[in-house]
Assembly symmetry: C2
Homo-oligomer: 233 residues x 2
């Protein structure tokens, strides 16, 4: 067993594969030449020749960019630069089965910060239809305190708030944060025997959204999330 | 030129490559078998045989997981499941050269929401050293109103706030949000001829952090970011 201190102090030497190097070169090339979405990339054979590597390595590097949504294959036009899907890759790795405790906790803190910060955008973008949908969720939620329901309605309510921003980046957080909700409810049950709830309920938050101010909503959300903030201290 | 309405209504058929399919299969396999960080993956040849595909395709799919930090090569142990770097891939695609206007705007809104939400965690984690560093940034910033300096100190100040959370996920946002800062300052100059500044300055925010409450900090930050929020309306 290696010495743990030594392990911490000496950073592991990470070797780069050819695909790592070619991926970086391609990325820098696209940037230097100011490629824009829609522009056609040089052919695989041309890239391989210019870089002095095999086509397999080029294909491997392009495959990574393709996974990130940075390039797309188009009939008759070959590879083109695309508008990347900025959260696609993030979603792929955000899976509680393979995230360690520290990362899960970090992501949970991200959720708390996002929800404390949402107020202004919610007031700018909220519609009557949004409020009605929130009211519908709250109506169905009443008296469902056991874990599976608690998680389900937590996700429905807070997910709807992300959706109301009309901002695709937030909307995508909804599905990413989903597994983190369940993780936290489980943690709470483990340490205090029950899922904790703040004094301000989902119902109260909807009432504030209807008739209150962003400041009042922030104060309400802070109270709603209080058990979670208390656990951070 | 295809009809634009038709284009919008009919979603483009996206063909999956073999690597897309194998990547998905591997991901599901790791999940179903509850692989944990440190566990060794089956050999490339075994995977190729089980999946009925060539080794090249397996290598391509593993290369993607490697890029996401989900797997690592270890001497004598082959590939092992790693703790993924949840923001690495996000950073790779977050480059204003290739992001369209809508995505840049979405990311900028993400920044506003995060900074409005940071207060509680800042008060839990702040140290005397953090405050001194913020004061140092503010001291150097005074009277630097032109664009390059404005961007530089904006990044230094707001980046330090992310750093103070002690949360690696936020810290990483710092470098991701960097190009977005510059984009927004440029946009402001384009529409109103100058970079707009809220009534509450960085200096004021430090004073609130020293002697005020999270609620006061939130109100101060809201005022500091006011020109940006006004542009959202």
């Amino acid at each position: 067993m290696p010495n743990d201190d030594l392990r911490k102090d000496l950073k592991r030497v990470t070797t780069k594969t050819m695909a790592d190097v070619v991926e970086l070169h391609l990325r820098e090339y696209l940037k230097k030449k100011s490629f824009k979405p829609g522009d056609a990339l040089p052919k695989e054979t041309e890239l391989a020749e210019a870089l002095g590597v095999s086509r397999n390595v080029v294909r491997e590097a392009l495959s990574r960019l393709r996974m990130l949504g940075m390039v797309e294959s188009r009939k008759k036009r070959g590879m083109i630069l695309a508008n990347p899907d900025i959260l696609g890759a993030f979603e792929r790795v955000l899976d509680p089965l393979i995230l360690d405790e520290v990362t899960l906790r970090n992501v949970f803190e991200l959720r708390l910060v996002l929800e404390m910060g949402l107020a202004d955008i919610l007031y700018i973008r909220k519609t009557q239809k949004d409020i009605e949908e929130l009211e519908e969720i709250v109506k169905r939620e009443v008296n469902k305190k056991q874990k599976p329901f608690r998680v389900k309605y937590e996700i429905a309510f807070h997910g709807k708030l992300y959706e109301m921003t009309g901002n695709d980046t937030f909307l995508r957080f909804q599905s990413m944060l989903l597994p983190v909700f369940e993780y936290v409810v489980d943690e709470e049950i483990k340490t205090s025997g029950k899922a904790e709830v703040g004094k301000v309920t989902h119902h109260d938050l909807v009432e504030i959204l209807k008739a209150g101010t962003p400041d009042e909503f922030r104060a309400g959300m802070r109270e709603h999330l209080k058990p979670h903030f208390d656990r951070l201290k």
